[in-house]
């Protein structure tokens, strides 16, 4: 499985309600596309987010974002350095 990083920016800042909405929509898609969400880093000013996934390929992660209408700027395949 491949590690995929998704970068997002929000203007205006993302709210907790928006985030919950995306999470709800994304839940079923993740299973279907065999994508596992690992973790996310959400900036204190709520303008930026970096999400880490594990998936069979990058296209699966891209498809999940589109299906869940989760806004993103770019995504890329990553090698993990340091702690997994």
């Amino acid at each position: 499985m491949t590690r995929i990083i998704v970068e997002r920016t929000f203007d205006p800042p993302l709210t907790v309600e928006d985030l919950r909405g995306v999470e709800t929509r994304m839940a079923s898609c993740l299973d279907l596309y065999r994508v596992r969400w690992v973790r996310s880093y959400w900036s204190a000013d709520r303008h930026r987010m970096i999400c880490e996934y594990e998936a069979p390929d990058a296209a699966s992660v891209r498809n999940v974002q589109r299906e869940a209408q989760a806004k993103f700027d770019c995504l890329w395949i990553a090698d993990v350095l340091g702690e997994p």
């Binding site: 279907l32 065999r34 069979p56 390929d57 990058a58 296209a59 299906e67 395949i77």
Partner: protein, 1042 residues
């Protein structure tokens, strides 16, 4: 219709470029009718030069009045007096048709067309110069009629076309004169940038020409100015022309001006020195002032309400007389409040009353003002306090009466020829309802002639003649009075000549006196005199003037600061200069306004049409940001957006403005906005927002007409039903509920009660239906995902059935439903229906402007066509896909390139294999393993067909590895079948074993495409097919794999 000419005379000259003007052959200007609609009709007939049906002309200018044909007849009578001569009947009218024949008449735009009949490129320089000289201003400048949208649209279109033609002519002159007469070329080049300030090439030409003339400092100044206009003010991208022009300048001894333009040097004589605009004392008008004195005294002493109407030509002194009313009332111990109508706001309900009520002091009744909050403070307005218009009118009347009990009050209304219908109705009500002991003096001023164009305003005064209404018709000042006025304003002026040339018009006299001797004797109009004054302003101040004139009414400093892109010191300095020159004046502590509407119009006339579009776009955008919180600006947004050609914003603003009008019981204005909004909507592309806006506008039209004693309801049932269905399909449940509610109103009003009940139920259902539709959408989406991922197909079938059961009763058409169904039909091998279903989904995605769904539906259609062997269809789809991907922000679409290459490769196109290898490499780099597996399998089947077994095996092997990773069962089966078929030549038993294994699996677990490929492999290796693999219902003859 035959023209009649029996002798040769100097021709009548008709000018349509600039202010409309008709003059005799000896140069004498023919007075035009005061009615703006009549002048507009004249312009229209002359410009079109065609015969028109009377009905068409009525629709153009008089939609609404009870007898438009009578209005038309009246206007034609006025026009005959202007254009017909004893022996030249230019206005040709029969019972059915009206037309203008340019007999013995020079019409400037006709002359332009003759001069440029072979195109500007083929015209001689002399012809181009002559044509350029004919463009003295914008087409029918100042003859905008915002309430007559058909005429207005025609006028704007003509104006823009002629503006573009002028630019072409000027550019052609610049090109031809640049080499041998750069000085000449420069004046035309400056005209180009003045007309089109965003033309980088135009600015570059000016820079180059200045350089060629050795005027390097000016060239640098021009470069700096151009950069500022293009990059800072308008954020226009630079193409390099300007930089290139800059680099051609020599670099010795250049002096930069630091990015700011030095003010142009103005040679001044003492006579032209601008004076601070002192308060002009009242000169003359003794009789009229005596009338005012008696009216004020009567109001104060006898406690009876009085009404005064002052009419006259623009600039004749009506506003000054109203000011005298206010001054005399205050001097008598009373109070005076004022309101002014603006042409730009002729559809803003109660506009004049809002201004007036704003100036009522707090002690005039806090409670009453609270009740009028919707009018006075729209941002803070509570829920509607009034059930119908009469209650609102009663509240205003009560407020005025309450004020008048404690102190006599004068209410002055200026420019009532531009009153909106609601304001006119309220004024009529106030005039009629004031009790006999009420100390109120109502004074109104209107332009003679133009008030007849406003049926509502004219009716106010026609209906109240008798006891209360006194009329003063202001004529020209006496020569002695005019001389006295000129002397007061500018003692050094040639006041005798001023008096003669101004013909007793005070505003004209004041401006001629201020302008000085250089403008006298030049037969100028008032507008041209102002234009001469404007030319003397510093350029930054002229820019401010341009923005102020485009706003169309008085403006607050806050709004102005937000609008203009200059620093505060520049703004303050510019406004001060405009005040000093008597162009602007502070209207109260918060707002500025032009000293006279003629000044505003003169300033606006100086702006070229392309620049007007940009300015109005910016104003519309700025005001639109406030619109959600403050609907009172919606009418302004609609106007500016319309002038900017921003149909979508204009339609949206019309909805907001119309809703506000409905809330204020201004039904006529509401209906007007709805009609305008629908016209704008016709020019916007289909989208979810369009459906919503359409329903909003139709709602206004229906509600504005519904109710007792109202006009006939529009016949819109079919349109509303269709819009309701579209709204539901797009998930716009509130809009759908509104549409069904409107249907119920229409049915009820027409007596179809059972239909009304059905519609009401559907409205309720639509409102509740959001959950069901959302759920159905989610279910269909899940089914579609499963089919794409080739997992649990039997469950996806059940989900599709469930979604269908949910949406069928609602009569809905969901993109996800058709998409999912199409993929299921593909799975089952029914390609004909699959293509139709996905095509339907594509149409719905496009209607909703859902680019992501549109893209994916197109991808599936390409895949379906590839699998059917329709390679030309695939190539066409791929071209569409590239375009849609661009709109999604994806310039790189390797799978689309792969599909394109595969279809060309399957067709045996030269070079396609190399193209395919490149595309596959790109697909690998974006790590899309599923598409890679699919594409490799398709490639393998093509290699197989071509007998290239090694390549077929290699492709299939790669596909297999990827398909296993992605758990794509079909691609695994296909890859293994192809591998086995290729391997059979060398290892028959191994291959047979593999194929046998594939045949023994459950065929329902793989798609028809996979089954066909397995069956083909079995036949090729001589393995008999089990019965389960022999039935292929709905399949096409030649699926890919051939």
């Amino acid at each position: 219709m035959r023209p009649l000419i029996s002798d040769i005379r100097p021709p009548l000259r008709i000018r349509l470029l600039g202010d409309l003007q008709v003059s005799t052959g000896d140069g004498k200007v023919v007075p035009l009718p005061a009615s703006k609609k009549t002048r507009a009709l004249l312009g229209y007939l002359v410009a079109t030069g065609a015969r028109h049906r009377r009905e068409r002309l009525c629709d153009l200018l008089w939609e609404g009045p009870s007898d438009p044909r009578a209005e038309l007849r009246w206007s034609l009578n006025r026009i005959r007096r202007v254009v017909n001569e004893a022996r030249a009947t230019r206005l040709q009218a029969t019972r059915e048709f009206v037309g203008f024949e340019p007999v013995a008449a020079d019409v400037d735009i006709l002359a332009v067309r003759v001069l440029l009949r072979d195109g500007p490129e083929a015209a001689s320089i002399e012809a181009l110069r002559e044509a350029s000289a004919l463009f003295r201003g914008e087409f029918l400048d100042g003859l905008d009629l915002f309430s007559c949208y058909r005429y207005q649209e025609w006028c704007i279109a003509e104006r823009e076309a002629l503006s573009r033609l002028r630019l072409v002519v000027l550019s052609e002159l610049v090109e031809r004169l640049a080499v041998h007469s750069p000085g000449d070329a420069l004046s035309y080049a400056r005209a180009v940038v003045s007309a089109d300030p965003l033309s980088e090439a135009g600015h570059a030409r000016v820079v180059t020409l200045l350089g060629a003339l050795g005027r390097r400092k000016e060239a640098i100044d021009q470069y700096d100015r151009a950069r500022r206009v293009l990059t800072e003010e308008h954020a226009a991208p630079l193409s390099g022309h300007l930089e290139k022009a800059r680099r051609t300048l020599q670099s010795d001894g250049l002096v930069r001006t630091g990015g700011r333009t030095a003010p142009p040097v103005i040679s001044r004589t003492p006579a032209m020195t601008p004076r601070p605009p002192q308060r002009v004392p009242f000169v003359g008008r003794l009789v009229e002032r005596e009338v005012v004195t008696r009216l004020v005294r009567s109001t104060v002493e006898t406690s009876s309400p009085q009404v005064l109407v002052v009419t006259g030509a623009p600039g004749i002194g009506k506003s000054r007389l109203l000011e005298d009313v206010r001054e005399q009332m205050v001097a008598s111990g009373g109070k005076a409040v004022s309101g002014r109508a603006f042409e730009a706001e002729a559809t803003r309900p109660y506009g004049i009353w809002v201004d007036l009520l704003h100036t009522m002091a707090p002690e005039d009744g806090g409670e009453l003002r609270k009740g009028l909050a919707a009018l006075v403070h729209p941002r803070d307005a509570p829920a509607d306090d009034f059930r119908h218009r009469t209650q609102l009118f009663e509240a205003v009347a009560a407020l005025i009466e309450r004020v008048a009990r404690s102190i006599p009050v004068a209410l002055t209304f200026d420019d009532v020829q531009w009153l909106d219908e609601a304001s006119a109705a309220l004024l009529h009500y106030i005039v009629r309802i004031l009790p006999g002991d009420c100390r109120v003096l109502i004074a109104c001023a209107a332009r003679a002639g133009e008030i007849d164009d406003n049926v509502s305003a004219a009716a106010v005064f026609r209906g109240t003649h008798g006891r209360y209404v006194r009329e003063i018709v202001l004529g020209p000042l006496l020569p002695a009075e005019t001389m006295q006025l000129a002397q007061t304003v500018a003692p050094e002026s040639d006041f005798a000549r001023v008096a003669a040339e101004s013909e007793g018009n005070p505003l004209f006299a004041i401006e001629l006196a201020r302008a000085g001797s250089n403008v006298l004797g030049q037969d100028r109009t008032l507008g041209r005199v102002f234009a001469t004054q404007f030319a003397k302003l510093r350029e930054p101040t002229r820019d401010l003037l341009m923005w102020a004139s485009a706003l169309g009414r008085s403006f607050t400093l806050d709004r102005f600061i937000a609008l203009v892109a200059c620093d505060m010191s520049e703004l303050v300095s510019g406004l001060h200069e405009l005040e000093r020159r008597g162009v602007l004046r502070p209207a109260d502590g918060r707002t500025y306004d032009f000293v006279h509407d003629v000044v505003r119009q003169a300033a606006y006339a100086e702006i070229s049409q392309p620049r007007r579009t940009l300015i109005h776009r910016r104003i519309a955008g700025l005001l639109a940001e406030e619109m959600d919180a403050d609907q009172s600006v919606a009418a302004d947004v609609a106007r500016h957006a319309a002038l900017a050609g921003e149909d979508r914003l204009a339609a949206r603003a019309c909805v907001a403005a119309a809703e506000r009008c409905l809330r204020l019981f201004a039904n006529a204005e509401a209906s007007g906005f709805a009609t305008r909004g629908l016209r704008h909507l016709e020019r916007t592309p289909p989208a979810a927002e369009r459906v919503e806006t359409y329903i909003g506008l139709i709602k206004v039209r229906v509600l504005a007409a519904a109710g007792p004693a109202m006009r006939a309801l529009p016949r819109l049932e079919v349109d509303i039903t269709e819009a309701a269905k579209q709204a539901q399909a797009l998930g716009l449940h509130a809009s759908a509920a509104t549409a069904y509610y409107l249907l119920s109103v229409l049915h009820k009003e027409s007596g179809h009660l059972s239909d009304a009940e059905t519609s009401t139920l559907r409205a309720a259902q639509a409102g509740r239906g959001s959950d069901e539709v959302t759920y159905a959408r989610q279910v269909a989406n899940t089914a579609r995902c499963m089919l794409e991922l080739e997992t649990d197909i039997s469950r996806s079938r059940r989900l599709i059935r469930e979604a269908y059961a949910l949406v069928r009763p609602l009569g809905l058409d969901l993109c996800e439903m058709h998409w999912a169904y199409g993929l299921l039909q593909r799975w089952d091998g029914d390609y004909g229906r699959a293509i139709a279903s996905v095509d339907r989904a594509l149409g719905l995605a496009r209607a909703a402007q859902d680019r992501w769904r549109e893209y994916n539906c197109l991808v599936w259609l390409a895949i379906l066509e590839l699998e059917c062997g329709k390679t030309s269809g695939v190539i066409r789809r791929c071209a569409e896909l590239v375009e849609v991907a661009g709109k999604l922000g994806d310039s790189d679409v390797p799978f689309v390139a792969t599909l394109d290459a595969l279809s060309r490769f399957a067709d045996g196109e030269q070079g396609a294999e190399t193209q395919l290898a490149r595309a596959m490499s790109d697909l690998r780099s974006v790590d899309d393993k599923s598409y890679q597996a699919y594409a490799l399998n398709i490639a393998a089947t093509v290699y197989l067909r071509l007998g290239r077994m090694a390549e077929a095996r290699a492709s299939a092997a790669q596909a297999l590895a990827l398909a296993v990773t992605m758990q794509r069962k079909n691609e695994v089966v296909i890859a293994r079948a192809i591998e086995a078929r290729v391997a059979a030549a060398k290892d028959r038993s191994g291959a047979l074993h593999v194929i046998d294994g594939l045949l023994s699996g459950n065929p329902a677990e793989i798609s028809m495409r996979a089954r066909l490929i397995v069956a083909a492999a079995a036949r090729a290796t001589g393995i008999p097919l089990p019965r389960s693999f022999q039935r292929f219902p709905g399949m096409i003859k030649n699926p890919a794999g051939r």
